[in-house]
Symmetry: C2
Subunit: 120 residues, 2 copies
Amino acid sequence: MIVDKASPLFGDLGGMHNVYINAVGLPALKKGGPYPDKTMFLTDLHDFTVSDGSYVEGARKALAIMLKDAKKYSSTGGWGFQAFEGGDPKKPLVTDAAKQCFACHQPKKEQDYVYSTYIP
Amino acid sequence: MIVDKASPLFGDLGGMHNVYINAVGLPALKKGGPYPDKTMFLTDLHDFTVSDGSYVEGARKALAIMLKDAKKYSSTGGWGFQAFEGGDPKKPLVTDAAKQCFACHQPKKEQDYVYSTYIP
């Protein structure tokens, strides 16, 4: 997915989103959730440039993860959220997951708070 | 990469290009080529929709491969080209690799005829 300048989300989430899931969660993704504990989503978020009608991937902006642990993260739908600036583990971006992450995931409750859907 | 409607390539190559390379070719990709025999690129080409400024991946349009064999494919820069409609191995699309594929790759001779570049 690319969140382009025309999107209201561009300021916070603009870029090319390459989304991965681990093997624990894959069967649940195919069903649209719910997800078992230890499911992990990874979003590899990159800048992009537009040249002659083509959107070309640029440098990494951040790595973002969602990790399922229903008990540990019960206050944020069972998901732990974190993101790292430029993918640098020394630069975490999330200090308040409820406010920075879960607030916008809450509308996707029927998909266990996950926006991604399986695309064969 | 997304080739959008504004691109002159949209008719032939429109869509979201997810490009993969095998381990044989990866070191060469990092240097920008040239590539050793048995390098394989795979492009998983998908449709997309645009919704509120976000480009969202859709169904698979085709799988396309480039396989390096300098001797076998000497007439097309050392690359074998094939693509499969919808990713179906029973539906090959390339009958004349020189005309359908290599003609447009030829300008990238300095990168061993490969458009992709390594994006960390």
